[in-house]
Symmetry: C2
Subunit: 789 residues, 2 copies
Amino acid sequence: MIAYNDQGHCFLHSPTAMPLAGGFLWNAHMLVQMNCRGYAVAQFMQPEPAKYAGGPMLEAKTFMQPEQPYYAHHPGRFFYVKDEHSGAFFSAPYEPVRAPLASFRFVHQPHCIGWQIRAHGIELQMELTLADDRAAELWTVTVTNLQEQERHLSLYPYFPVGYRSWMNQSGYFDASNQALVCRSVTPYQKVQDYFNHRHLRDWTCLLADTPPQAWEARQQVFEGEGGLHAPSALQQQLLDNGEANYEVPAAILQYRLTLKSGQNRRWRFVFAPVRDDAELAALRDHFFGSGGAGFDRAASAYRDYIQNGRGCGEIHSPDEDFDKFVNHWLVRQLYYHGDVNRLTTDPQTRNYLQDGMGMAYLQPSRTRQVIVTALRQQKRSGEMPDGVLLNEQAELKYINQVPHADHCVWLPICLQAYLDETDDYALLEECLGFADSNEQLPVATHLQLAMQWLLQARDDRGLSLIRQGDWCDPMNMVGYQGKGVSAWLTLASAYAFALWAQICAAGGRNQQSQYWQEQAGQLNQLANHWFWADEWYARGITDGGRLFGTARDNEGQIYLNPQSWAMLCGAADPKRQSSMLAAIEDKLMTPFGPMMLAPAYTSMVEDIGRLTQKFPGTAENGSVYNHAAMFFVYALYHQGLGERAFTLLKAMVPGLDDWQQRGQLPVFIPNYYRGAYHQLPHQASRSSQLFNTGTAGWYYRCVIEGLLGLKGCSQGLQVSPQLPEHWPGVRAVRRFRGAELEVEMRKEALLNQQLYLDGVRLEGDCVGHLESGRRYRLVVLLPMGEDHG
Amino acid sequence: MIAYNDQGHCFLHSPTAMPLAGGFLWNAHMLVQMNCRGYAVAQFMQPEPAKYAGGPMLEAKTFMQPEQPYYAHHPGRFFYVKDEHSGAFFSAPYEPVRAPLASFRFVHQPHCIGWQIRAHGIELQMELTLADDRAAELWTVTVTNLQEQERHLSLYPYFPVGYRSWMNQSGYFDASNQALVCRSVTPYQKVQDYFNHRHLRDWTCLLADTPPQAWEARQQVFEGEGGLHAPSALQQQLLDNGEANYEVPAAILQYRLTLKSGQNRRWRFVFAPVRDDAELAALRDHFFGSGGAGFDRAASAYRDYIQNGRGCGEIHSPDEDFDKFVNHWLVRQLYYHGDVNRLTTDPQTRNYLQDGMGMAYLQPSRTRQVIVTALRQQKRSGEMPDGVLLNEQAELKYINQVPHADHCVWLPICLQAYLDETDDYALLEECLGFADSNEQLPVATHLQLAMQWLLQARDDRGLSLIRQGDWCDPMNMVGYQGKGVSAWLTLASAYAFALWAQICAAGGRNQQSQYWQEQAGQLNQLANHWFWADEWYARGITDGGRLFGTARDNEGQIYLNPQSWAMLCGAADPKRQSSMLAAIEDKLMTPFGPMMLAPAYTSMVEDIGRLTQKFPGTAENGSVYNHAAMFFVYALYHQGLGERAFTLLKAMVPGLDDWQQRGQLPVFIPNYYRGAYHQLPHQASRSSQLFNTGTAGWYYRCVIEGLLGLKGCSQGLQVSPQLPEHWPGVRAVRRFRGAELEVEMRKEALLNQQLYLDGVRLEGDCVGHLESGRRYRLVVLLPMGEDHG
């Protein structure tokens, strides 16, 4: 039912097997999540996220939601096809008619999403791609007559735009621009908002390359008493050419066509937000001005844009599906996060830095830019803001209005990845100002201040205060009274100090390095003293002094994050590590990865917070929250437990055996799979379908640095693969500091790893002296039978 | 297709003729707008308005919208009926299946809304009423077998609750309470909101008097691939008993039943928001605790509540439909406005005072309370706030955050109506504090301060500054820079001064009276000087000094309000009055009333404001905005132009000849009918379906004081009817200061009006010395052939 082809394109052959499945396309101006049945969630930036097609009532402005439910009038892009002779009709891709189809194929390529539908002896090919340089959907639709006899058909593109405004909404056909235009005025009441709204693209247009025979702009008249599954207007020979005047508008066109046997006909459409008539005319000119060359040029430029998101490595392993996911889709997801910052104007600082970390493996200059941008918004005290503002009008919204304590932690993590990949230690000397001070200080000092801020943001015991949340946003009531502390943040601070100490050492700052190494060590001791609870690390101590995340709790007994980070920061000695790994296996593990906590909370715990009110098994309340699962995988690789780590990497991607349970195509990692595995087994493993997650960058890092073990260091490329036991070897490409290495790894009967660069055996595990612009062939011979797991 | 019965109940016999038609029910805790096809918009107070059933996605929090569009998944209350033998099914009242029905009858009674549906040889009677003392819908459903043979049926109540929360939503059947419970947690992110939300009723339950055979809480599973018009779950013998676990919940039950020919069976359900299990159990106990006696008690108490909303007059004229509308429905709408303040916690001051004015004719003590409550929130400067806060947590929201200049105007208007009705001049001596001062001053001084505030809130020319709006909210950019002035407000201030002068005179404050009479006169002169523009009054002068609302404008040439109020305040001399009446007739009049302005604006006018961005012919942009139309009617009666006034009173109620165009049942006055009569004739006259409007109080006042001419004064009841020419007479009941008068008016061949009280001829036009508790019979003989029009 689902499959990759050779180029990694992902296919789905049923519209009903995975009703929520789909994919997404983006450019710097917009994002569209396209569902296999035809529903769509799209937003564009002006500069704040806005919608050009919405639901049938005024929607709340909010962030993207997990497990987005669809319903008949949900926004989507549909094509009704009617046989003029028999009156029979169906709709493509599947909604809203849901007619039985002779065949259905949904195809996701990195740069486009398409369908091939066959029904009633007709084939419909539909393809959606985006413009490269603006918010515009480019649709190509081809109708083919598969039957022997000539067919008289009508094709009706039906692009609903929803309830737009109680102030003003309308729709009409603009013949000069060959566009169905849905106008509206974003509703408001305050004078100032008039000036704020003046620049908004409040209109939505469907531009056509060919004039239609008829059109309809009134959604409800089109639908009539027949309903969306059998619109009354389809019973007419021609649509009414009806304007919507303060009625819910929709872009509906009718093309009548006659096709001989085997004959086909193609249309192209552009669906886009526009500001006014001038912009509409410009848009038409841009795409359809000279016979549609602009349309093709834009589509081709968009393909180029997506292809630019090339990772620093490719893997060719015995596991082809894994390779395809990593090489085509994981890199793409990482590119999306890092290149357009999830299309937010105020990314949460931790997300911004981790997405930036991922870019170290695609376009390290972007990582540098992220570090610089973030540090310019640091306070002189060392504190990092809750979100990074990416334009001058941007404001901290939603969760970024809640104070979180962890943002400084991510600085050395992001920096280390960047330095390992580039060796650009000069960055540390670059002078930058602060959000609240013009004083120009080197990046190294900014980092130093950030580490000092973490150091002071502790209680009398020396434990890290959690304020209204750490990495875990909704853990907002552990410390809102100013006293609660976080075990994870204490351990993460130790890890940050240790990384910063390493960076200092590598940069020749030995005294500083020693200082931070000592601080890390002390934190580890404190963490072991206060947070180790019999068999694993607790999650924190509340304002009221209650240690939680232990066997004494009925719910939320064990949290994954403190365990993972205790492995990273070195707090966990081998005995502790083996005890807690056993506990994770016992209490958190599921066939699709480790849950973030267990058992999931089923009612509010007032000294933990909002987390406990989330539905059991969703999001932070005990789902397989992939970002957290990924920290665990990274920690496993860090500890050389590659066998176990690889199992979890694989578990994170919907596979042939469980795609239907997960309900998601293997074209991205979702932010979570439903957990509460023992509490609510029926829903467990269901994908959130939400592709915004800090997971992607870490996943790729684990593949490059953990699995393949091809990690940068000051001397060059450190080679220490952790291949799964059942792999005899692997081939890979690694682009590194301008050089390109073709890598072949083979397990042989050896005692120690051997490296051959262009046939020459190297001493040690590091490939040094690589020259930018050159290609190399690296053979890595690995001792057989090593067990990392 | 529509008709009243003898008791004024309103019937509609087609589900498709008027798809938006319906009615509303309310109590002090909730409101439900019930559409004839089964859709519903309901809110309850906690204490801010909230919903217990919503749409399929997160909805924006907003005020009630005009022309509310419905769609398949819109919230509603539906009953599917399936024949177990044939598998055939339909749904009542009509949605979502839209099956052809043998008959359909929608009935609105003042205290309940019901249907009688016949299809497939089955009759369904459904009735909705409310609990008297809490937010709860009470449903009674009766199924009758109309066929000869025994029938095996399933009845499925389908009460969707919508997408509730991205944090937590679920549904399950609670057998101990016989309730399908849909739980959720109102989504939030800030700690403080946890404490703000703790008291919220976030759950929705459907309590049943009888245990169902099966149930389903998963909306999407119920619907399946079949869709709402043919839910997949109906193909099963029994529903799945499926819990919704972070899935869109719905309350769906299944009752299997066998009915012999002619046999029927009845169910009762309660649909309500609840806070927790304890409240759920209490609710069950309350309604179904002792065989359902509580249900009956509540329904009966609710009927009593509605019947309490009795007006001070009843009319029995040759126009029975008019009588039924006024006696049953207009009074009811007025009661709704005045008794529960449109279910807002911060009514706009002008609405609060005008709704209070209306209550003078129902329950004058409420008017007194309104005046006192409003004046306690007056500033010591005399300025009135933009909204009146009705509880301690209430805040000024939406439009009440925009400064408007007119609120003081409504004080003497409301007060005059109250004093005329009650003669309670003692109120003027009652001492009250201020919003910003504890100083206790008499009501008369509060009024004095308000009038002084109006007097000073003028520009150098002496014209009233409009700030960011006057009565017309969206006229927000005429004066936002501090200079623009309003012609309407200048005239309205003159009228307010004149009324206050009358009240002063009646209360023996002669010097004050003279002062304010002079001020009124001066304002009238200024208005005539600055605003009279050739044939009618302009609407104002903008910040930039532009006189607008004149023949020199292409759009918005003439506004109704300045003309109406120039008639009220006496600014318009007979010549001006006749000129502007001709202009109104020519430019504003439509068969369903006068438009508020014409031509409607088709694009933004930056020195007028938001009004011009509204869709042409809707709301303030040139609709027949009934509140404004009513001012005009009141002004016509004021000027003795009763013939013309009555025509417009009639035109405001959907009639037999135009109900389909208006699309509304004659059970309330909507806030507008679409205008732009010449610009967009196709949509013109369409009802907004929105029953929140200041119109009701004025309408009733016009009937009592204008048409019937039974107006209170210090001496008693002033009698000066303005019956339409074609009425030979009228009978009426007038309750006045505790007395009840049975009134008969007859046109006879007389020169002057004659009054007979209990058979005794009275001198003059005033009925004095009426004793509370007594009944009188008043005969009014009117000279024939008088023409007021």
